[in-house]
């Protein structure tokens, strides 16, 4: 790479992970658009790329690009935090190619083979047919090997170099992240037990270990981008870990209301998942507070310049704090009590929450990491926004908020008509889908999805060009 200012192999490797993540992010949006279009025009690609296929790739690409970008983020911050080069760079590079090749094969099989006969060969080689964890068994084993190799590198580096609070949290968190995946790999004839363990992976990833992960990344960002005080930031991080795990682990109960599990999960799920938004509020306040504190301290010294060393990245970090609170916190809280969830479970309400939560909590901060990598690669001291970065940020964030609003409206119609009025039957389902208000919601979701996608295209061109802009401080 020309003009590469990166001095550590770890950061160079991080840029590989970020690049591949951005490509898969694009695939996620393309297949999301296909699925959104099918809601409006059901005949589109019928029996060619059916909704089930498009949707499977949409959500799998989501998980995969985020995991890639998470690994990239760790490789990026390790040299800064530990003060040494990452141990096992060769292994990291090998695992990158293994993981990337496996993903390409899995997606091609999803697209070209799609479904198989009802036997174990399908489960092993085509798809497992379990939402989010569709990857066939061979790929499951591959993922575990790749993640364990990654965890080894993290541990070896953390133990050899300076083990900061952020690195300590990441070490504990990534081990749990890898271990929990094992819970979702088995096969059982009993669908209740199946879904019980399936939630261990989905919930304990996105509502526990991933949340702690972004807490660590946010802490790193506050220290590097606005010069926040490490001791204060790390103290906040430990409080967040306590709050996130304290509420999130037993918050899993809100998935055990209706899958055959005993009624006591109503109380456990309601109580702990109602607490889940608290750390998200705390994280939001924490980011804004530190920003204001640093800026104020600087202005007190008579310096009227911004403390932010990377404007586009910091913008995404602040949007993460807001989006996580809104998407995971508020939209999650909407339907987390069993009294409400009885009617909203499995409607577009869930979909609205899913879109804003995954985006707000994870996509935002990982896009922020992309910008941090661009800054580092080009050796920029203070990176300013460009017109493109402002457009990309506004269109993506606005687009996802728009999709969420549209899905919430449709979900509302579905809850009232299908669930409350019609008792959840087949005809009740289709009556709700045929409602004008539901259909309008789907139209708006598609329109806002297109806005999001165009924003993504601008984002990619910005990431490729912003480093060469001349208005940065070098």
């Amino acid at each position: 790479m020309a003009n590469n200012y990166l001095t550590t192999e770890s950061k160079k490797l991080a840029t590989w992970y970020f690049t591949f993540a951005a490509i898969i992010f694009g695939a996620q949006l393309v297949f999301g658009l296909v699925a959104a279009f099918q809601y409006v025009m059901p005949g589109f690609l019928f029996e060619i790329v059916d909704f089930s296929v498009a949707r499977m790739i949409h959500i799998n690409a989501l998980v995969v690009w985020m995991v890639f970008a998470m690994m990239g983020s760790v490789y990026w911050l390790l040299p800064d935090e530990t003060g040494i080069e990452t141990v096992g760079i060769g292994l990291g590079k090998l695992l990158f190619w293994v993981f990337a090749a496996a993903i390409v094969i899995v997606v091609l099989v999803y697209l070209l083979v799609q479904v198989g006969p009802a036997d174990q060969t399908t489960i092993w080689f085509i798809n497992e047919g379990r939402e989010y964890l569709e990857a066939p068994r061979w790929a499951d084993i591959g993922i575990v090997v790749v993640v364990l190799g990654f965890v080894y590198n993290l541990y070896a580096t953390g133990m050899k170099g300076n083990r900061s609070g952020i690195v300590t949290v990441l070490m504990a968190d990534m081990l749990a992240f890898a271990g929990i995946y094992l819970a979702g790999m088995g096969y059982t004839d009993n669908i209740s037990i199946d879904q019980y363990w399936w939630w261990w992976v989905i919930h304990l990833w996105v509502e526990a270990t991933w949340e702690v992960f972004v807490g660590s990344i946010a802490a790193y960002g506050l220290i590097t981008m606005i010069g926040a005080h490490r001791k204060v930031v790390e103290m906040w991080l430990w409080i967040e870990v306590a709050m996130l795990f304290g509420s999130g682990i037993l918050g899993i109960g809100h998935h055990y209301f209706w899958i055959g599990t005993p009624e006591y999960w109503w109380e456990i799920g309601a109580l702990f998942s109602a607490l889940e938004p608290l750390p998200l509020v705390a994280m939001f306040i924490h980011v804004l507070y530190d920003w204001g504190k640093q800026q104020g301290a600087q202005e007190a010294q008579g310096k009227e310049v911004s403390v932010i060393a990377n404007k586009p990245a910091f913008t995404w970090f602040v949007l993460q704090a807001l989006g996580n609170f809104l998407g995971a916190g508020v939209w999650g809280f909407f339907h987390t009590f069993p009294q409400v969830n009885l009617y909203t479970h499995g409607t577009q309400f869930t979909s609205a929450h899913g879109h804003l939560a995954f985006f707000g909590a994870y996509a935002t901060i990982l896009i922020g990491m992309f910008y941090i990598a661009v800054q580092g690669k080009h050796g920029i001291k203070v990176m300013h926004a460009t017109k493109k970065s402002i457009w990309a940020t506004s269109m993506i964030f606005g687009g996802v908020l728009g999709m969420t609003a549209a899905l919430t409206m449709s979900g509302y119609v579905q809850v009232l008509v299908e669930r409350a009025q019609m008792g959840a039957s087949w005809s009740g389902y289709f009556d709700s889908q045929a409602s004008v208000w539901f259909a309008q919601g789907m139209d708006w979701r598609l329109i806002m999805g297109i806005v999001t996608f165009l924003g993504f295209v601008i984002l990619v061109t910005d990431l490729l060009s912003i480093g060469k802009a001349t208005h940065h401080e070098r």
Binding site: P117, A118, I191, Q195, W258, T261, G346, Q421, M422
Partner: protein, 228 residues
Amino acid sequence: MAKKTVWSDNRFWQRSAAWITGFASILLIWLTFDTIPQIKMGNDADLQNGVTKRVPGPTVINYKITYEMNTKRGHEIPVIGGMNAEGTSAFQEKEKFFGRDDWSQDEAMELLALGKLASQSKNCMNCHTLLGNGAYYAPDLTKAWLDPAWGPEGSMQSMTGKSTKEEAMAEFLQHPSQYPTHARMMPNLGITAAEAKGLVAFLKHMTSIDTNGFPRNFAKIQGAVHGK
């Protein structure tokens, strides 16, 4: 200088985080040990002896299943083989499934296992919801066995030219796009006759799972006023 306080001590918060996480994890594991035995699949002897299981044995396909309001629990529960005086399953009334009501434990298990495997192999969950989980492009299948559309009053039996619910469902599953009900259709997934039979057994069995009253009022309301 102010005295050092524990509240601004990172070690204190680190230890608190470790203790809280450990405590929550142990509680979850303990609850798992309580829950898993409760949702283990029952067997034919349970049904014969009138033992209610949250997830009944596979031979539940030999019985009539309904979904009734239980005043004691305050929500609907699956009622197997007719209702007894307490408003729960009597395990008496049988119902023919593909012409038989004497499927043995092994035969029924084989059918159910094939159906569960087919539900994953055909990726049902990326259009439908099962137990409310999955995608929202097609109806929830939790209590699909009891949906009026497939019953004697519904349109699906005459549309598929079959005289029983299970045969109509199996026929539809094999050739879904031949029987379009809405603009949004189910695609042909290459489901064989055997797989279709297994899937119908899987659906009937899923209806018998005690889902704590989800979905509410299933198919109790026939045609709402201004439903659309």
